[in-house]
Symmetry: C3
Subunit: 110 residues, 3 copies
């Protein structure tokens, strides 16, 4: 038995929940924040048998890994420049997961 | 020293808190959710000496174990059937606790 | 790799967050409560290399240790005593941290 702590960005947390349900992995979600300046994140606690750890890690990596995304920034309406401003899409980094696998000495379900 | 993670249903969490206080066991509560479709739950973190783990497990089991309960479902006022509807009590499963006991290498109180 | 769970009072949690950022230690905050009658507290989860555990513990102790503070209680306006009430500062205990260091078997960043 192991416990996995996975800290992911809020934007990935719903999809990750669904993937866990599909894989029949029970995950508990804790509202969390911080880690430098990163905004809201979600901490998943997952308890599972040793031989299923690999599956869970694969799901977390596939669903939440850090990746680049093109985003169009909002146009600045207060701009003092005359007309013609265009918002160009910029590449931003989203996602990312920090994962700890920890030993469990006893597991009970009451 | 061990750390116990206990995930229980919200409906059992107040009574469990009280039982821990009575037993002089310090528990920290984290708001949590999920684990399949189960609604709100509470995660307790409890740090305690090895020889007290048994007591804590007994308290969690007694207070939060899964059990059947009779519940009267609300009467459906929009029912198209003519009069005479009776809401019969149905048996539902409530409670239940998932518990992990984990090793602790250092414990400090500052 | 170790995981540190540190439970501190809400009033110390912002300063502790800043100290972790200064020390380049990534900490995730969980909203928590309880532990006897103590009001709101915050649980920090910190994953870090074995050789940095000491630094993190020193920061937690310095920022959040239990200490006495003089506090002026609010004057009771409904007092039935005639005038001249003075609110004398009283010494109260604030702060305090409960800290667990736990083993980590695998650490991943995706
Ligand atoms: Ni990808
Ligand atoms: Ni019973
Ligand atoms: Ni001091």
């Amino acid at each position: 038995m192991k416990m996995i702590f996975a800290i992911v960005q809020d934007k990935d947390s719903n999809r990750l929940s669904s993937e866990f349900v599909n894989a029949n992995i029970r995950a508990t979600k804790l509202a969390s924040s911080g880690g430098f300046l990163r905004s809201g994140n979600t901490t998943f606690i997952i308890g599972l048998e040793d031989e299923r750890v690999k599956d869970a890690l694969r799901i977390i990596r596939e669903t939440s890994h850090s990746r680049e995304q093109f985003m169009t920034p909002p146009i600045n309406l207060d701009s003092s420049l005359d007309g013609g401003e265009t918002a160009f899409p910029v590449e931003v980094q989203v996602g990312g997961a920090t994962v700890f696998v920890m030993p469990v000495e006893q597991f009970h379900q009451f």
